[in-house]
């Protein structure tokens, strides 16, 4: 029962110009960034090759590209997720799902997976750029794969948080702004340097970026992957609970 909800979510997203504008602009900005770093790499290649263990095109181009995309999407995911539950509550269309033989968990997961499908398309399109280098050079396919997994995990975490925020309000604008600030705070935590060593370490562990960087460098760490999964699961469970509570409070 999750599939029809997810597919409809994706379909309705694709019916709005917003999704297409986002896809196009992200692709455009990423392409600029990509061409720029490829050019830089070409310029620096003679000097780099003199080094003992030179960074390859994967390190020079792909990792920064994915890091930039992740930061851009930090601002874009809230715009994608803002409508998911807030508008359904505002327009009272939620009662269609609530009076159908579907559980709240299925509704929330359906909405979530629908958005992930959209983001998967986006990540796929971004991956096409590094893949375009294939005919000219040998890519470190491991790093490309871990990088895209990392990017996707990051987006899953963003989306789960955005979904939760959109369940809290009926206004999509409020949902977008609040999700953005939540994600931004979690992102920035990485740079907090004050406080004792313990606090610093704790903050570092909670930060999204801290767990993203190793994946970009090509190392898949159980701790990092678990972090993203726990992050997403927490917000999904919160969303389900919130929607159930809505039914109780009215």
């Amino acid at each position: 029962m999750i599939t029809p909800i997810a597919l409809l979510e994706l379909r309705r997203m694709m019916l709005s110009p917003l999704a297409w504008v986002i896809l196009a602009l992200i692709q455009f900005l990423t392409a600029l960034q990509f061409l720029n770093s490829v050019e830089e790499f070409m310029l620096n290649q003679p000097r780099l090759s003199a080094l003992e263990n030179p960074p390859g095109v994967s390190d020079w181009v792909i990792a920064p590209l994915f890091a930039d995309v992740a930061f851009m999407l930090l601002m874009v995911v809230p715009v994608i997720s803002m409508r998911s539950l807030s508008v359904e509550q505002r327009d009272k269309t939620l009662s269609l799902l609530m009076s159908s033989p579907v559980s709240m968990t299925e509704i929330v997961l359906g909405k979530y997976l629908g958005m992930l499908l959209f983001l998967a398309i986006m990540v796929g399109m971004i991956c096409l750029m590094p893949l375009a280098l294939m005919p000219g050079t040998t890519l470190d396919s491991g790093k490309l794969i871990t990088g895209s997994i990392g990017l996707f995990l990051m987006l899953s975490a963003f989306t789960a948080a955005g979904l939760f925020i959109s369940s809290l309000t009926r206004s999509p604008a409020v949902a977008a702004v609040a999700s953005f600030f939540l994600l931004f705070a979690l992102w920035l935590m990485f740079w907090i340097n004050s406080g004792g060593e313990h606090i610093r370490q704790l903050v570092e562990h909670l930060s999204l970026l801290h767990h993203f960087v190793p994946l970009l460098k090509g190392s898949i760490n159980t701790a990092d992957v678990t972090y993203f999964i726990v992050f997403a699961t927490t917000f999904i469970v919160l969303t389900i609970r919130r929607m159930d509570a809505q039914r109780l409070q009215g």
Binding site: L15, K92, L94, L96, L97, S100, P101, V102
Partner: protein
């Protein structure tokens, strides 16, 4: 008759405010039950609870024997609900939307197309099935809402104010549709419009301030009909009361009486001949049903209304 839906002592609080108080509703197979009440009586809250959109503070709901709280999926499978505002996605076409709702109600594969065309057929949506819901008129959107509620052939259909905001022709069409639905499904219909209940329902519950104040299954409907008579002058009421078919005579105004009589025999001709005999100067003799309107108004407007009417009568006298 089998009970399709049984709600016992439903109560619902919003904070401290008790919107619905100890409401019990039974729906039997073949019923079109009208839930009648003034605005704010708790109709929508009751219906939201019956369809699982709101959790009741107290009370149980059984749909075809399945508890809505314990087995929500099973119970909701036999339920179709049209909320006050049709839950349609304006950016989809009628066809797309109905296919989605069919899938949500566990219809699979080729059966989907069949169910959609059947629902479109019954609700008169064939002509518009490829149009965007957002571009349809309110009446058609309402039909899409009804089509969504009947697509899986549920036993119980719950319609919340289905004719609100429609023009008179659309209202008549929707009423005909509800009557048609009643032949195959059981329907609960909420409304604050009296003629609507009289036109389509075979059973009535009246809801007032969150309570069921009238249930024609339990409450004795008065076995009376009445005649409204206008004579040229006041008459001796006792001579009328001597007639065995007359149960009560109420003086309304100078020479104007409401004569209540048993429903089986009308004393109209007897009264007419008596009037001629005694030269009462008969001007009007109108039979009228002691109907729902009387019950509705007296129950929902309480004593104040009756008092003021009596006062008017006294002043006139």
């Amino acid at each position: 008759m089998s009970e399709l839906l049984k709600a016992t002592s439903l109560t619902r609080y919003y904070g401290d405010y008790r919107a619905v108080d100890n409401v019990s509703i039974t729906l039997n197979a073949g019923d079109i039950l009208g839930l009648l009440g003034p605005n704010g009586a708790g109709k929508t809250t009751t219906m939201s609870m019956l369809t699982g959109n709101l959790a009741p503070s107290h009370g149980d709901i059984l749909i075809k024997g399945c508890d809505l709280a314990d087995e929500p999926k099973k119970a909701k499978q036999s339920l179709g609900y049209l909320p006050e505002q049709p839950p349609v996605y304006r950016d989809l076409t009628v066809n797309e939307y109905l296919r989605y709702t069919a899938r949500l109600r566990n219809i699979r594969g080729k059966a989907i197309t069949l169910a959609v065309s059947k629902a479109c057929d019954r609700t008169g949506l064939d002509q518009v099935s490829r149009r965007l819901i957002g571009n349809l008129s309110k009446g058609y959107q309402q039909r899409v809402g009804i089509a969504q509620a009947i697509i899986h052939e549920p036993d119980v259909i719950i319609l919340d104010e289905p004719t609100v905001g429609l023009d008179p022709i659309q209202i008549r069409e929707i009423r005909d549709l509800i009557l048609e639905l009643g032949t195959r499904h059981s329907v609960i219909l909420s409304t604050h419009i009296l003629p609507e209940v009289q036109a389509v329902c075979n059973r009535v519950n009246i809801l007032h301030q969150g309570r069921i104040v009238y249930d024609d299954a339990n409450t004795e409907t008065p076995e009376h009909k009445q005649l409204i008579v206008q004579f040229g002058r006041d008459i001796d009421v006792h001579s009328l009361l001597e007639l065995s078919s007359i149960s009560n005579v109420i003086r309304q105004d100078k020479g104007r009486y409401v004569i209540q009589h048993h429903s089986d025999s009308s004393p109209a001709s007897t009264i007419a001949s008596m009037a001629v005999e005694n030269q009462w100067g008969l001007m009007e003799l109108t039979p009228s049903e002691m109907g729902l309107e009387h019950i509705f108004i007296s129950l929902t407007q309480g004593e104040e209304q009756d008092d003021s009417r009596d006062q008017n009568a006294e002043q006139a006298a």
